[in-house]
């Protein structure tokens, strides 16, 4: 019997990458502004690390992505459309957890190559890449290698088996650096990553819909999900869009490297979500 967290305080966790941490900060600031007691967000790691933390009560609320979470919870899930994914997710979510409203903002996994590779091989989609896969080294996080929509999914859907897999990080600086330096020729990055435009990387399209819809959605422990909390989270989901996410990420990556909390606070007040009670 492990003790649950303080019943009146919401502990927020996130993945250990900038966007997830930003979202967690946004949730935290908005909830606090609404008078809910929250702990400062903790960046935990990959889903494989933070989701168990949510389940064992270490944290109560996390921002997640619909498609990825669905495959994490149900390896055999086939839904790819945003609403279908969201509905499917609602069905497999473990007891004691509930979903907030899904936002329009989407940050999908993607197979990414450099502009030079794209032109040399003449590829625009993963399907185009398939014949070349055997000669290429792929870079991504450790979990991408084993995830159903990761390497196994690419092989199943496109018949693309990479020559070598180089374990790096999940859409982090190692992967970007490796792709830039041609240590790997294709990599798993995320569509809202500001490193993509910065490095002029090419996102290969996904015609077979290997990667399911990845809308941002808050997952929360049921006993902490008061109507007030839900209202705040739903409002945020309503305001978020893919463009907003990109803007948030770009702001965080700007040269002055502002604190994520600052970025979150700026966004919240620009949207008028905070400041109403002040």
């Amino acid at each position: 019997g492990r003790a649950d967290s303080d019943p009146d305080v919401i502990a927020i966790g996130s993945g250990n990458f900038t966007e997830s941490q930003l979202l967690a900060e946004i949730y935290a600031l908005a909830l606090r502004d609404a008078g809910v007691e929250v702990e400062d967000p903790q960046a935990i790691g990959s889903r494989e690390a933070y989701f168990p933390a949510l389940q064992d009560g270490s944290v109560d609320l996390i921002p997640d992505y619909t498609g990825a979470l669905l495959t994490y919870l149900d390896e055999n899930a086939t839904a790819v459309e945003p609403d279908a994914v969201y509905a499917g997710l609602g069905r497999v979510l473990p007891p004691g957890l509930v979903l907030g409203a899904m936002s329009q903002a989407e940050n999908k996994d993607a197979v990414v190559v450099t502009r030079e590779t794209a032109e040399r091989l003449g590829v625009r989609s993963v399907a185009d890449l398939a014949p070349h896969c055997g000669k290429l080294t792929f870079g991504g996080g450790p979990e991408f290698r084993t995830r159903p929509d990761g390497i196994p999914g690419l092989a199943r859907n496109y018949g693309c088996g990479f020559g070598e897999y180089r374990t790096l990080d999940s859409g982090g600086p190692l992967t970007v650096a490796a792709l830039r330096g041609d240590d790997v020729q294709a990599a798993n990055l995320f569509t809202t990553d500001p490193a993509l435009p910065e490095n002029d990387f090419v996102v290969l399209t996904d015609p077979k819909e290997n990667f399911a819809a990845q809308n941002v959605v808050p997952v929360i422990a049921e006993r902490k999900a008061s109507p007030q909390v839900r209202a705040v989270l739903d409002r945020i989901s309503g305001e978020l869009s893919t463009e907003e996410l990109l803007a948030l990420n770009s702001r965080a990556a700007a040269d002055d490297k502002p604190a994520l909390r600052t970025v979150a606070a700026e966004w919240l007040s620009a949207k008028g979500i905070t400041g109403e009670n002040a």
């Binding site: 492990r2 250990n16 935990i44 933390a53 270490s58």
Partner: protein, 216 residues
């Protein structure tokens, strides 16, 4: 350096966590190492056992230890207790040996004359052997303190706080200033704790200064 000023709240909080994560294990580890070191010094099997066990623990990668502990000691995944227990294990692994060595370095004649004066073993340990072992133990604690302060940073890889967070975040977001500030802060912390330990050592062993004076 302006990064530190802009994020001073965060830095202060992380420094506080770091101190807890390193000092608590240091104190607990030392308190546990003293009886174990005593045992190691008294019985040959105790010596073999404790020294080999602590030697083995010391070889375990710290990262792994942080992750194993929850299933072993029944804590939650992000419980700070995990870091504290893991670091205590390391401190213990370092200090058992030191305490055993320190005790065995107490001159046999002094121990014999204490025995001959009618000290029973327990009191002799507290009144004679332990105080005389202090200088060597303090030296060992200094080593352990510095290593611990440096090693706690690894916990941030799996989501624990402390100054290591400035490395993981500096890495994620590619902020060299944050990484450098983190390193400097860890060094500073180590320096301050080390200086404090030297001071404590001095206060505990006034006779050592007398000896140094007599040598001149």
């Amino acid at each position: 350096m302006d990064w530190v000023f802009r994020n001073s709240d965060l830095v202060l909080e992380l420094t506080g966590q770091h101190l807890v994560f390193s000092l608590v294990p240091l104190v607990v580890g030392l308190l546990l190492a003293i009886p174990l070191g005593w045992l190691a010094n008294r019985r040959s099997w105790g010596r073999t056992l404790t020294l080999n066990a602590s030697g083995f623990l010391y070889t375990l990668p710290s990262l792994a230890l942080f992750v194993f502990l929850p299933p072993i000691i029944g804590t939650r995944i992000l419980d700070p207790l995990n870091v504290i227990v893991a670091m205590t294990v390391y401190v213990l692994a370092l200090l058992v040996r030191t305490v055993a060595d320190a005790l065995s370095a107490v001159p046999a004649t002094v121990v014999a004359s204490a025995t001959a004066m009618g000290f029973r073993p327990g009191r002799r340990f507290l009144a004679v052997e332990l105080p005389m072992a202090v200088p060597v133990i303090v030296a060992g604690v200094r080593v352990a303190a510095v290593s611990t302060i440096s090693m706690v940073t690894v916990g941030s890889v799996i989501g624990f706080g402390g100054l290591g967070k400035m490395f993981t975040e500096g890495f994620q977001r590619e902020i060299p200033q944050e990484t450098v500030s983190g390193i400097v802060l860890v060094l500073l912390l180590a320096l301050v704790v080390d200086a404090a330990l030297v001071l404590i050592g001095r206060l505990l062993t006034p006779w050592e200064r007398a000896r140094a004076g007599a040598r001149r």
